[in-house]
């Protein structure tokens, strides 16, 4: 069976000289068609960068990336067929929505761009799928709460009916009840249309719920691949993963935390 997404020794870097940073240091993994695959790990470890490289937003990379066994070209260009097949929900919904475009404009433009004609019906369906009533349709991003904006971003990604969804922290701005609705919706769409998900989340319970396996990243490297069984049983081998799983058991007040507070104030 061929993979929907494959990454082989992917390296991604930014900047030059002293500002050079190797954000992804040789990542190799595959996501099978219909699978949901998680990317977890340290803040700043390169999770978003992997997705951005695939979609042409991080131009300096080496190695191989392929979508349905078709190699992804160097440079920022991706053809219309690529965006019809692959859509991304960005981590930062504020930055990804145009401040002067109403929700209606955002969705209708995306739909027209992909050649749909029954725009009305589709906008209504998309909004109701992500749990936003018709009252929101003519609002602008600044008139929405954080979670409402994130739902607009999800609706926009679903609009072209993609086969592969890249989800960067799709529910971290959502409260747990809307999170449950969105995750159920995503699961339904995946099983109905055989969708493939690559998903970043800091919430290991969400990853365990949605994904069958995950890559754990630290400082640009994939330190471990974990099945969800391993995740649930805390059966990690790498010390970083073990630390992460321990931290996920809950916040424990550090009565004699060193440094920190002195430095900031």
């Amino acid at each position: 069976m061929s993979a929907a997404l494959s990454f082989r020794d992917l390296k991604v870097w930014f900047g030059e000289g002293r500002d050079h940073v190797m954000a992804v240091k040789g990542a190799t993994f595959e996501v099978a068609r219909g699978e949901s695959f998680g990317l977890v790990g340290e803040s700043g470890s390169g999770k978003s960068t992997i997705m951005r490289a695939l979609t042409g937003l991080a131009p300096d990379w080496s190695g191989e990336m392929a979508v349905d066994s078709r190699p992804v070209p160097q440079g920022p260009k991706r053809d219309a067929a690529f965006y019809k097949k692959v859509q991304m929900v960005f981590q930062d919904p504020y930055a990804s929505l145009h401040p002067r475009h109403s929700i209606d404009q955002v969705l209708s433009e995306t739909l027209k761009l992909h050649g749909y004609t029954d725009i009305e019906r589709r906008i209504e369906k998309l909004l109701s799928d992500v749990g936003l009533g018709p009252a929101f349709r003519f609002r602008y991003p600044h008139q929405l709460s954080g979670g409402q904006r994130q739902r607009v971003a999800i609706a926009r990604a679903l609009a072209p009916e993609p086969e592969i969804l890249l989800l960067d922290e799709p529910t971290s701005a959502l409260d747990v009840s809307v999170q449950a609705e969105i995750l159920n919706l995503l699961s339904d769409l995946r099983s109905e249309h055989d969708l493939t998900f690559l998903m970043v989340s800091h919430n290991l319970s969400v990853v365990a719920h949605m994904c069958s396996q995950s890559a754990v990243m630290q400082q640009g490297e994939i330190v471990e691949l974990l099945t969800t069984e391993d995740l649930r049983r805390h059966a990690a081998r790498h010390p970083y993963t073990q630390r992460l799983l321990r931290a996920a058991e809950g916040y424990v007040r550090d009565e004699d935390a060193a440094g920190g507070a002195e430095a900031v104030a």
Binding site: S43, G147, Q148, V206, H209, A247, A248, R253, A261, V264
Partner: protein, 291 residues
């Protein structure tokens, strides 16, 4: 004893095409030198409550209240100039969209230095040293590079940590943190929370911690307000959040996935119109979970 913060009957409204929209509908609470969590579904008015305290509601939105007292002094009659002296000095707020609150065309380090010098009149080199220390304190791995970076060159979680560091610089009496750790992995999150916790315990800072993460709020905070449709439907000791009784709070608790118990589908909340009508729970009322 005067409370650090005393909010009575806070309202935030927006005129819309469909008439006046009430984002916050009479919220009252008091805060001591403690960690107060605010939870509640998306759109329930958490951010607007925080912003209204600092009078940061954009026009045509409007704020009204019986009073908003800081250390016994009402903020409502203050002029915009007086409010500017309160903002960032006595009360800091970490906004929900950190990158949006940073200046996009200014290097991160310069922004932190500027904030620091505004507060302390330190020399440039002193400010630079402190800025680097702050980046390290919030677990930024390569502070020198990040110091020179622009906001768009940061990861989501790095932006959040920088905002937190900046907001703590003026040593505020009250910190309002709106989803401050939502983009952090649990390990870095713990380190950042320890910093805030220490400021509460050792300097007596008050903290309003707005979060979707019910487990985290239960473990980290002292008390919790649970908001629904612009009102407080329930309040309880944070440690007893899991025993909350209101069907809305129960619904929120039950909709979380659990790492140890797999489920095919997550439970979703069935909203009851009566929840919206019930009056807000006040600061002195005991509609609390008791033993």
């Amino acid at each position: 004893m005067t409370e650090l913060l005393d909010v009575q009957n806070l309202r935030v409204t927006f005129p819309t095409n469909q008439g006046l929209f009430e984002a916050v509908r009479g919220v009252s609470f008091k805060l001591g030198r403690e960690r107060l969590g605010i939870v509640g579904e998306s759109g329930s008015g958490k951010s607007m409550t925080g912003r209204a305290i600092l009078r940061l509601i954009r026009k045509p939105g409007a704020v009204a209240a019986d009073h908003i007292k800081l250390d016994g002094e009402d903020l409502l009659p203050m002029t915009e100039k007086q409010m500017r002296a309160v903002r960032g000095k006595r009360i800091s707020m970490v906004m929900q969209d950190p990158k949006f609150s940073l200046n996009p065309v200014m290097r991160v380090g310069e922004q932190i230095m500027e904030a620091y010098r505004l507060h302390s009149r330190a020399t440039k080199s002193e400010a630079r040293r402190r800025a680097l220390e702050m980046l390290e304190a919030v677990s930024i791995r390569d502070p020198e590079r990040v110091f020179r970076a622009y906001p768009h060159e940061l990861s989501g979680g790095m932006g959040q940590r920088i905002m937190i560091a900046m907001m703590l610089i003026p040593n505020p009496e009250l910190l309002i943190a709106d989803e401050p750790t939502s983009a952090l992995d649990v390990s870095v999150q713990g380190q950042v929370l320890n910093i805030m916790d220490k400021l509460v315990r050792e300097r007596g800072m008050g903290l309003i911690f707005i979060s979707h993460d019910l487990n985290l709020v239960a473990q980290f905070c002292d008390r919790v307000l649970i908001m629904y449709a612009g009102r407080v439907v329930e309040t309880c000791e944070a440690g007893r959040l899991h025993e909350a009784r209101h069907p809305y709070t129960r619904g929120l608790l039950n909709s979380m996935p659990r790492i140890d118990t797999p489920k095919d589908r997550l439970e979703v909340l069935k909203r009851d119109p009566a929840w919206r009508e019930a009056p807000s729970v006040g600061p002195d009322e005991s509609r609390e979970v008791t033993a």
